[in-house]
Amino acid sequence: MSTAARQAGLVEESALAASTRFMRRASCWTFWPALAKALGILAMAAIYVPLVWLAVMSFAASPLSGIPYPLTMANYAQLIGDERWVPPLRTSIWMSAIVALVCMVIATMVGRAITRMRRPGPVLLLTLLPLFVPGLTMGAALFIFLRIMMGLTLGLWSIFVAQLIWALPFSLLLVLVVASRFDLRLLEAAEDLGASPWRRFWEIEMPLLRPGILGAGIFGYLLSFNELLRSLFVRGVETTMPIYNWAMAASQQSQVPIIFSLSAIILFVTLPIMGALFWFLFVKLDRD
């Protein structure tokens, strides 16, 4: 039997080391897919249950008690009556839009340059390293550099700088994913057919890099809109939405219920917009 098995190219179980035998059996267990499914469901629940709970609690009379009943619209009424949250929201919307735009432009330019380099490794590492710098460290470093060393008056511009530093590496990564797959020979073909450098970029390169560039913009916007740690240090006297929320939630005030309803509103507005945007980017454009 054993000779026959060996001749047939099969390996005898007993000839294997104990650890190898265990791995071979373990890889055949049938509960792996079930386990994966269960873990996936757990992860989804961990994300969405708190969100839904937050939305529910925004209708609770006293959200901090943890009991949703009695339901009330009082928090929303108070939110509408109170106008202090409007300027921070306006600041955040504009700030994030500018950060997103600048991210798209810089990420596109740098991403194109890096993929044309002969040895992109060191530059790539340097540009992506800020991803691993803790937010507090970066914020403190920026504060010390801009305020104490340079003696500058901090404000919207320094918030912009801090958020750009935070969002740019992510945007760059997204552009690099498409730029590294872009076939530079297509540009040579276009050049050969008579296209000027400007046309080559807009008609050949840009359409093929577009998913990455738009992705860079979306993530730049999201990262900027939610940024708190770095902005806190370099805000000067300015307030963005996350800073306002944080200050309100942290203080022992009666403002807390408003935060619940405000967060719920932002959630209900942004989630569908983001969903539609992603569908357009990765389903619609792909299909065309």
Binding site: D183, L186, E188, A189, A190, E191, D192, L193, G194, A195
Partner: protein
């Protein structure tokens, strides 16, 4: 750098100008009336990272000519093509003229030549029609006129039905033909083809050879065609330039390169099976007598310059020109040999034989030949080539 610029200037080729009159290309309407070449690359030298890719190469093409640049990978043929299209800036060049105008400082997108790339380089985000029209779009041709001319070019490659298709819906052969149509549509003075059918399978390759030749004759356009396949070169070209290590080894019409290789490299590239080191005994008129081991052989001299007696030369003969017999006729080269194995190839039979000068391969078309062990291999003096080493 390891090379010195002056050495290249000293090695003038000078050969290309002499072989020009052999080309029977008729000047076309639009070509220079004096019949001057439509393409002139004079003394081009190019270097990549200290490696000489092109070493003082001079190439000219007459209007309407089908010129093939033949060579192995790394011979500099693609570099030469990229210099002509402008996608590569030469390290040093005497002159680069298209239709008599020096374009050596003109960027690629303003030169009147287009390329069919080996990798096709079709734009994946455009339809077949948009790809083909691109050369016209950048020239500012109106959409309606563009469409007409694109359809006309697609009809030429029998793909006008696929105008609205996307590139990824096409087969390899169809993509290749779209690339050809795209390059033809702007009506360039010269069409450059960089191993355009190398990636296709055998059957398609043979079909495309015929198709390309027909398109060339119909349009009367100048084609500069790059390939590493001697078969493609022989089938399609008016003239072949054989390159090796950045230099031109030999140039001439297909028959001349095939039948009169100038040296061992050319002969072996053109598939001459038997190449024997020999000593030249005498050279009279076109015929050379030489000694190969114990045998004395007579053949046509096909080298460039005529060496003196005693020089080292190479004797070449093709397997299909060898005959086997019990007795050889008069006035031929002959070698007694012992027959070895036979390989059945369908249309013919390859027979190996052991002769005093080494192993021979004899291609027999009438396969019912002698099965005896001893025989005489013979071949005509006309079928024997004697060339430079």
């Amino acid at each position: 750098m390891a090379f010195s610029a002056t050495t290249y200037a000293e090695r003038a080729t000078g050969r290309s100008a002499e072989s020009q009159p052999e080309v029977a290309a008729e000047p076309l309407a639009g070509a220079d009336a004096a019949g001057s070449p439509i393409l002139e690359v004079i003394d081009a030298t190019h270097v990549y990272d200290g490696i000489v890719a092109l070493d003082n190469v001079t190439v000219t093409a007459a209007a309407g000519e089908f010129l093939t640049i033949l060579g192995e990978s790394g011979s500099g043929k693609t570099t030469l093509l990229r210099l002509i299209s402008g996608l590569e800036k030469p390290y040093r060049i005497g002159a680069l003229r298209l239709g008599g105008v020096d374009v050596s400082s003109v960027p690629a997108f303003q030169r009147n030549c287009t390329t069919v790339f080996q990798h096709y380089a079709l734009f994946p985000h455009m339809t077949v029609g948009e790809n083909v029209e691109y050369g016209l779009k950048v020239r500012g041709v109106k959409p309606s006129a563009r469409r007409g001319r694109a359809l006309e070019a697609l009809r030429l490659v029998r793909l006008d039905e696929k105008y609205d298709r996307r590139i990824h819906q096409l087969s390899g052969g169809e993509r290749q033909r779209v690339a050809l149509a795209r390059a033809l549509v702007p009506r360039p003075a010269i069409l450059l083809l960089d191993e355009p059918i190398g990636a296709l399978d055998e059957k398609l390759r043979v079909d495309m050879q015929v198709e390309l030749k027909e398109i060339h004759m119909r349009l009367g356009m100048t084609f500069v065609y790059i390939t590493h396949s001697q078969e493609e070169a022989l089938t399609m070209s008016d003239r072949i330039i054989l390159m090796s290590r950045g230099r031109i080894v030999q140039e001439g019409p297909p028959a001349e390169i095939f039948d009169h290789p100038a040296n061992r490299f050319v002969a072996s590239f053109m598939g001459v099976e038997h190449l024997l080191d020999a000593e030249l005994l005498a050279i009279e008129g076109a015929m050379a007598t030489c000694r190969v081991g114990p045998a004395t052989l007579v053949g046509k001299w096909s080298g460039t310059e005529r060496p003196a007696a005693g020089a080292e030369v190479v004797v070449g003969v093709r397997a299909e020109r060898l005959h086997l017999a019990d007795e050889a006729p008069e006035g031929v080269n002959m070698l007694p040999c012992r027959l070895g194995s036979a390989i059945y190839k369908g249309k013919y039979l390859d027979r190996t034989a052991d002769a005093a000068i080494g192993d021979l391969k004899i291609r027999l078309w009438d396969s019912h030949h002698t099965s005896e062990n001893e025989a005489i291999a013979w071949w005509k003096h006309q079928d024997c080539m004697v060339m430079s080493a």
